[in-house]
Amino acid sequence: MRDALRKNGLNPSMIYKIFGGVMFLYLFLGFMVIPCVNTLTSVFTAKDAQGNTDPFAVIRFFLAGNMPSFLWNSLKLAVCLVITVNVVGISIVLLTEYFDIKGAKILRLGYMTTLIYSGVALVTGYQFLYDNNGLMTKWLAEMFPEMNKQWFTGFNAVLFTMTFACTSNHALFLRNAIRGIDYNTVEAARNMGAKPFKVLFRVVMPTLLPTLFSLTVMTFITGLCAMSAPTLLGYNSINPEIVRLAGSTTADESFPQARAALLSVILALFTIILLTVLNHYERKGHYLSVSKTKAKLVKQKIQSPVANVLAHIYAYVLFIIYMTPVVMIIIFSFQNWGAVRTKTLDFSGWTLSNYVGVENYQYTRSTGKIATRYGAISGVFSNEKTVGGIRLSFILSALAAALACVIVVVAVNYIFKHRNKKRAAIIEACLLFPWLLPTILICYSYRTFFNDEVWYVFGQNLYFKENVRILIILAYTVVKLPFALRMIKAAFYAIDDELEDAARNLGASNLVTFLRVKLPIVLPSVLAVFALNFNALFTEYDMGATFQKAEGTTYAMVIQSMCNEEGRDGMNMNASGRRCASTVFIMLVSGLILYLVYGVGARDLGERLAIRERRRKRFEKLKGKLGGRSQE
């Protein structure tokens, strides 16, 4: 009877399934497929001056005009970035993990600063130091008067900035790979007469090749899709051009929207090809250590004194390059507006005005009268616009990060329950779909497609006024799904099937098993994914720039605007100082999140209980001491 009902009737579980399926299709088709297909078709539906559809007009325009130069510039940046990031990334890993370099721990900390100091904050920070009147450029020009003070613009500046911005992640993955090397293989090679550098190139490096290949492909894609550095430092690559075209009209130039669409489709094609190659390569497998008892890598002394000195010099020069912006930004965030604007340290000009408080600014008009600009100097947490940007980014990032986690946890739970079935594979592929597309394509597609009344979002224009915030949340969520899926799926693998069986055997329902057994196990990973996504989105630039409008000005856009508005008509006198303070604030937020994720969040229940116990004992000891004293 029950079986018959199960087969034919609509029981609650069947209703859940139908509802789940319909929701999934709605979300996947409505917010991933349809907007992107719309972008693709818009390339071939451009209208000529007479209003006739000309399918190849944009392509003809592409071939005849200057559009290939944007592509070429992006490719040039991607190729050069691959070289510089690999050179710097490999060398810093070798210097801190493989060779015996004095002060390696401090060096490692310095090299990793770009993990908390990244994106638009890093670019504007580098600008602060290296542009034509930047602090470092001034110092360098004093040492080398012949040097070009304008060196930090265009390609050079973008390559320099992105090289150091990308190496932290590069080094992080490579470090894990090098730590996986069995030291016995190094000893075996040495035992057979190989010299240290021979061992490095013939034994160590080949085992790193698969990781290096993956990192190279990812760096190439990063270079190709670069946004904040080219925009802020003035380099004509694809992404800034797409954003520019998206905001342009046919009155200004020929079919800008279709050209933007074509550029995003080209970018998508490159990404798809590269990721397919990467996927194919990764499937071929990695070099796995076959040893049963792996020995920990012992740092190698560089035998030649000359090479040793050179390696130390190189390591510390890199350290200075990494640390200088961080130190300078922190110092200047506590300097008054005059010192910041002239980029000269003023030891009597320490202030907190870049963080909190509002001050007026008095200046002499051309008529000789003294005028006051009220509130011209304001701190990060007192400036209405900055606080508004922080608040908006905080809310949008938190909501999107949470939404991505919820969607992925529910989906992964389903995928694991039906792991050998086709529908699980389909859901997984759908969630990974945004990974294949450049962020700019998704955002551009959203901006153009939802800038109209769309029936399946209740007839609303999602780009209209405050609605853009919903659009930003949707874009943030979609873009972060693949990362969330990869991380949370890995966490689900840690759940032993027997745990679920045990819970069921003890009488727990599916929901109770999920909530009380499975979720607590994956929760640290889910929270880590939430925190990392939040961290990335909080100062996110690419999407913020694509959707930018008064109602959707995110924190990154506020930081960017600080670069342009300083001192105009006696307003925003401390914009640069506030920018420095903003960067320090971002570093603190990122640092805190990384500590919570990798420090606190990585502890299991046993470690947490042990820490609690230690604290309790310490407290009791302290109480005993205090009690003893009061008795005395």
Partner: protein, 336 residues
């Protein structure tokens, strides 16, 4: 207590269990023994309700439970990995099933404390995370969790397989003692014949989805019903042509003898004892006993001799090998 009748289990086209019939008696320690993939865990999971048989019935205390949901079968399980919930303390692990049953807080506390005392877990240990316990303590938690809900029977799926050899032997003894103390019917799955022989009241030997033999440890070891059982349980010598003919055994059959039943230089009286000359090929020293490889009658015969410290044979030494016909186990050949 538990009766499996004509149980058939299929995974797609693959038939994992073919007409399994088992009767486990009340209070018995019953072991499913066999190599990997033989169907022992599948049988256990059929009893516990994780697998639905294609045909046949599972009955407990005379009641058909074939289609009763897992949680309503009143069967406790100790899993291979123990399946302790890593995010809960030892106390919460044990109390989990009681909380699901919505027992009162006081009752839960009382039951948890009582079972903890019985399995020798201290109050201090109850507050710990399971990751802070040793392998042996974790096993006790798993047993306590399975027993606290007062199941009619308890099923254990290779609970010692993750432990090192020394701890395995120690816990084996504790397990047996605990089972006797609780007096609970236990079904135990293992691929380790030594574990099965030392722990069980009765053993079912599985092979390729069939049960080859059900019997006491002595029966399956000394009177193995099939050639598979004889080979799987303990070490054994197949007897080759020369000895078979010399002993006048049936040539169409396969004949075997246990290592400890082959005697060396013992000069036992009796006309029907088969004797042959041999040479010690090599030896392995095990402390309690010594294993010799003796080349005799055109084959190598393995022999175990108690290490009495008096007579230890050297490699190359000539010895006399003796086999009593009563000790030979014979099984039909492949054709037979």
């Amino acid at each position: 207590m538990i009766q499996l009748t004509d149980i058939v289990v299929r995974f797609g086209d693959f038939e994992a269990l073919h007409n399994i019939n088992v009767h486990v008696k009340e209070g018995e320690f019953f072991t499913f023994l066999g190599p990997s993939g033989c169907g022992k865990t599948t049988t256990l999971r059929t009893i516990t309700g994780f697998i639905d048989p294609v045909s046949g019935t599972v009955a407990m205390q005379g009641k058909d439970i074939t289609h009763v949901p897992i949680e309503k079968r009143n069967i406790g399980i100790v899993f291979q990995s123990y399946a302790l919930f890593p995010t809960m303390t030892v106390h919460d692990n044990i109390a989990f099933g009681l909380k699901i049953k919505k027992l009162k807080k006081d009752e839960i506390e009382q039951k948890v404390n009582a079972i903890a005392r019985k399995v020798d877990l201290s109050d201090e240990q109850l507050k710990k995370a399971v990751s802070q316990l040793s392998g042996g303590q974790q096993q006790r938690v798993a047993i306590a969790r399975a027993l606290v809900t007062e199941p009619a029977i308890i099923c254990m799926d290779e609970p010692l397989s993750n432990l090192d050899a020394k701890l395995r032997v120690q816990l084996r003894n504790e397990l047996k003692k605990m089972q006797k103390d609780f007096g609970i019917t236990t079904i135990y799955v293992t691929h380790d014949q030594e574990e099965a022989l030392t722990l069980s009241d009765r053993i079912a030997v599985f092979n390729k989805g069939f049960i080859e033999q059900i019997g006491t440890p002595n029966e399956v070891y000394n009177h193995s019903a099939t050639e598979f059982v004889a080979n799987f349980i303990g070490d054994i010598n197949p007897l080759e042509k020369e000895i078979v003919r010399g002993m006048g055994l049936e040539t169409g059959k396969h004949h075997f003898i246990r290592l400890e039943r082959v005697r060396v230089n013992q000069d036992k009286s009796g006309d029907n004892i088969y004797r042959t000359e041999g040479v010690i090929e090599s030896r392995e020293y095990y402390g309690l006993y010594i294993k010799y490889y003796v080349s005799a009658a055109g084959q190598t015969i393995k022999v175990i001799e108690k290490n009495d410290g008096i007579r230890i044979y050297e490699e190359g030494e000539r010895v006399r090998v003796e086999i009593h016909p009563d000790d030979v186990m014979s099984y039909p050949g492949k054709e037979g």
